[in-house]
Symmetry: C2
Subunit: 195 residues, 2 copies
């Protein structure tokens, strides 16, 4: 049985829970008690030396990083959905995995952590980066239903959480009509799991 | 003919030049005159709204992001090398693409930019993150020749530049013997291209 080391309030864990749900994969959640230091415990660092959730365990496979886990799940269980095989389409999807790991992680995600008191940093600077990232996505989504390939892919799954949660970091979505319409489409997918 | 919009001193562009060289792919370099504002020019922003190199153009495919470009090249031209097909191995490789896009980009890479006067930020903080990232890689490489799968992959290609260049950001590699031995192995690959 696939196990996901999980924190309920984590957008990164939510990426994986959403992917698991969309693919209809049976799994168990292992809640990580981060407030009691579980992310720094030796047994957890043996699973992920970065000391972060999510971590997925599937037999002898131990995977960290929400993007890597979603790619694994799509490749193993997607049956051709969510992860394209054609090189150009795969490359296009990959752009958004880096966008989630870098641009969104250091903007809307970080702003949300600062507002909640879990992280330190320059809130206004992270919010400004969030607006820049959202503006880029909004322009890209003009005339498109999905980020790439014309169908939902891991790109959409990993970029959804920290754009949907942007308002929790004080980054309003009002100006990003294409992003909001894309949210609605994603939320209408079979087996969509709300945050 | 494949074209790479390139800055010679960029470690991110070097990732792509290295991948192109290892795969023996003919290409042309299009130097970007960033000191004269070329990254902010409308014609460049049409290629990459993030205003960053590298950008690869192959026919009607326009790709940004060094990780995405390397995945594309490996998938299209690798003939099974550099990018594994098995889901578990692909997932393991993907972990290091996020590591390059996030942990290395915000540590050794950022420190190098600050030392060179191109970026602003807390140098000591970025250097400390660099040591943390290198320590994690060094422990992982204990008993391994390559980051994943037992053979060189895109994971090695995208993690090499900003670990090799770490000393330019004031992050010495002396303590990371496994990382240094891995560098030597990578540098011995056929068609290796030095920075």
């Amino acid at each position: 049985m696939i196990a996901l080391y999980d924190i309920g309030n984590s957008g990164n864990c939510y990426k994986v829970r959403l992917m698991l749900s969309l693919l209809g994969i049976e799994h168990v959640l292992k809640p990580v008690d981060y407030q009691r230091g579980a992310l720094r415990a030796p047994e957890f660092l043996a699973l992920n030396p970065l000391g972060e959730v999510p971590v997925l365990v599937d037999g002898d496979l131990i995977l960290r990083d929400s993007q890597a886990i979603c790619v694994y799940l799509a490749k193993r269980f997607g049956g051709g959905r969510f992860l394209p095989e054609a090189p150009a389409e795969l490359g296009r999807v990959m752009q958004w995995l880096s966008f989630a790991a870098n641009e969104l992680a250091h903007s809307t995600s970080r702003a949300r952590g600062i507002v909640a008191g879990r992280r330190k940093g320059d809130l206004a600077a992270h919010q400004a980066l969030g607006h820049r990232a959202l503006a880029i996505m909004d322009a890209h989504l003009s005339g498109r239903d999905w980020l790439e390939t014309g169908a939902p892919t891991v790109a959409d799954v990993v970029c959804y959480p920290y754009t949907k949660l942007a308002p929790e970091g004080g980054v309003a979505l009002d100006a990003y009509r294409n992003v909001r319409a894309w949210h609605v489409r994603l939320e209408a997918l079979p087996r969509f799991l709300p945050f």
